[in-house]
Amino acid sequence: MSARWLDRKAALVGIGHTAYGKRGEFAARGTFALACEAVVNACEDAGLSPREIDGFSSYSDDSASPAALASAFGCERVRYAGMVWGGGGAGMGGAFLNAALAIASGTAEVVVVTRAICQADGGRFGQALASERLPASLPELSFTAPFGQLSAAHMFALAARRHIHRFGTKLEHFAEIAINARLMARANPLARFREPISVFDHLESRLIADPLRLLDCCMESDVGAAVLITSPERARDLRHPAVLLAGASMGSPYRWGQGWMGAGSASDDDFTSAGQRTVAEDLWRVSGLSPADVDVALVYDHFTPMVIFGLEDFGFCRKGEGGPFVEGGRIRLGGALPVNPHGGNLAEVYAHGMTHVNEAVRQLRGDASNQVPDADLALVVAGAGPTPTSALLLRR
């Protein structure tokens, strides 16, 4: 595909979300109600009626189906429905790529990307593995869970441990990701965790899966979020200046599979990464842009090391140098590359990446709480782990 084929072919015109709850807080409402509220709020933000939505895009086997959403809102017709494979927030950018392709090809006119999480409905990841018979439909789980690899933290710790071993990455580098998230969240009244933390707090927080500590891990949340996408022409009549897609990509490197969610046969360099080396290559290729063009980065921060590894994968620094890269305030507000000015998964809410897109849109509209001056280009990096992971570039 030639460079810039998708550039300015799709516009993000409405962002919405529910209140940000702790795990189980919205159990009485349920996942589908959260999805519907997020859609209503995104439509209100755009100045569109939910009835005008004719396309639905999501990821991670989201339970709010196009059938249920279109019926609930009395949509005139459904023209597009797409789901990206893989769990967690890895496919988030892929859901935006699918939506943009549907818009750019004329398949649909208004596509909504949705993700709603209500942990009480879906069950917790590790607990499901520990308490149930392992499913024959996912034979790879039988090669991990019986050996005690039960939680996401166990898996990400394996990558973090080897990165430390190979490159001398320090726990203080992981701490900086958590500290930055909390500092950013101070200006975000909706954020779940707004108390500042120190390196000492981080290093003294209890071990979860060595080397990962409590403050390296984001907290599960009950939340719904939605983003509306339409054509740049249609966007001109809507409420806000349009934010345009500059490029998007999804995938994984050679023999990545599910990465360290399993032992894998990926190369050592990919094992000690966020698995986003090839997604980054493709993003820069299809967009015709480079890391130097990025004004603000929204990097999926389920676990602190993945921000450092993601910055390496996307070429902001060389392989292995992500730790030193985040030193000295470089990723803080006012630094050379502000990262997650909304507080991210770690401090704002864990919405499987959707709130990173919401923040990118606010930054490019110029109305973010922690506004990066003259932000013209935002990079949004989806979750590391499953195949496919994904990313998008947004411009104003």
């Binding site: 917790r124 990841f125 590790g126 607990q127 593995l129 520990a130 308490s131 149930e132 018979r133 392992l134 499913p135 024959a136 034979p139 790879e140 039988s142 090669f143 991990t144 869970a145 019986p146 050996f147 005690g148 690899q149 039960l150 939680s151 933290a153 166990h154 710790a157 394996l158 990558a159 441990r161 080897r162 071993h165 209890r206 071990l207 979860i208 899966a209 060595d210 080397p211 990962l212 023999r255 360290w260 399993g262 032992a263 894998g264 046969s265 094992f271």
Partner: protein
């Protein structure tokens, strides 16, 4: 070890994986190997990544390797797992396989946080569950 075995879920064998678990129950480590080009692969799958052949066999391997990475789990993901206490999960890369590295998720017996390290030479041993299922685990090689 027995307590660990009792608390964690057992593998669910499938058509592709039953041979692996059954061999481990009999005290043997077998890895899928391509009949055409000889490449080893794990976890079990239906095609060879190198030559795309669908023909394969179980190959008994020596079961020596090195610790590629590890973690010590401190937080029980389920209250029922609290009796496990602090335990390790490791990735072991096997010696002497053909093709891309062959790595297994496992755990390492007879180590402490002071002695478990990346690069530690290890050898396989087995935790038998029943006639059909065993778990290959590892201990430091002497």
């Amino acid at each position: 070890m027995a307590r660990r075995r009792a608390l964690l879920p057992a593998p669910t064998p499938t058509a592709l994986t039953a041979g692996f678990w059954k061999a481990a129950a009999a005290g043997r480590l077998v890895i899928q190997r391509c009949d055409e080009c000889g490449a080893h692969r794990h976890t079990p799958t239906a095609a060879c990544y190198r030559c795309q052949s669908l023909a394969w066999s179980w190959d008994p391997v020596a079961g020596s390797g090195r610790v590629f990475s590890y973690t010590w789990s401190h937080h029980p993901v389920h209250p029922a797992l609290a009796p496990l206490g602090v335990y390790n999960v490791a990735v072991v890369e096997l010696d002497g396989t053909e093709g891309d590295p062959v790595r297994l998720v496992t755990w390492i017996e007879s180590v402490t946080p002071q002695t478990l390290r990346i690069g530690l030479p290890v050898e396989v041993l087995f935790e038998r569950i029943d006639d059909e299922i065993g778990l290959p685990i590892f201990r430091p090689r002497v």
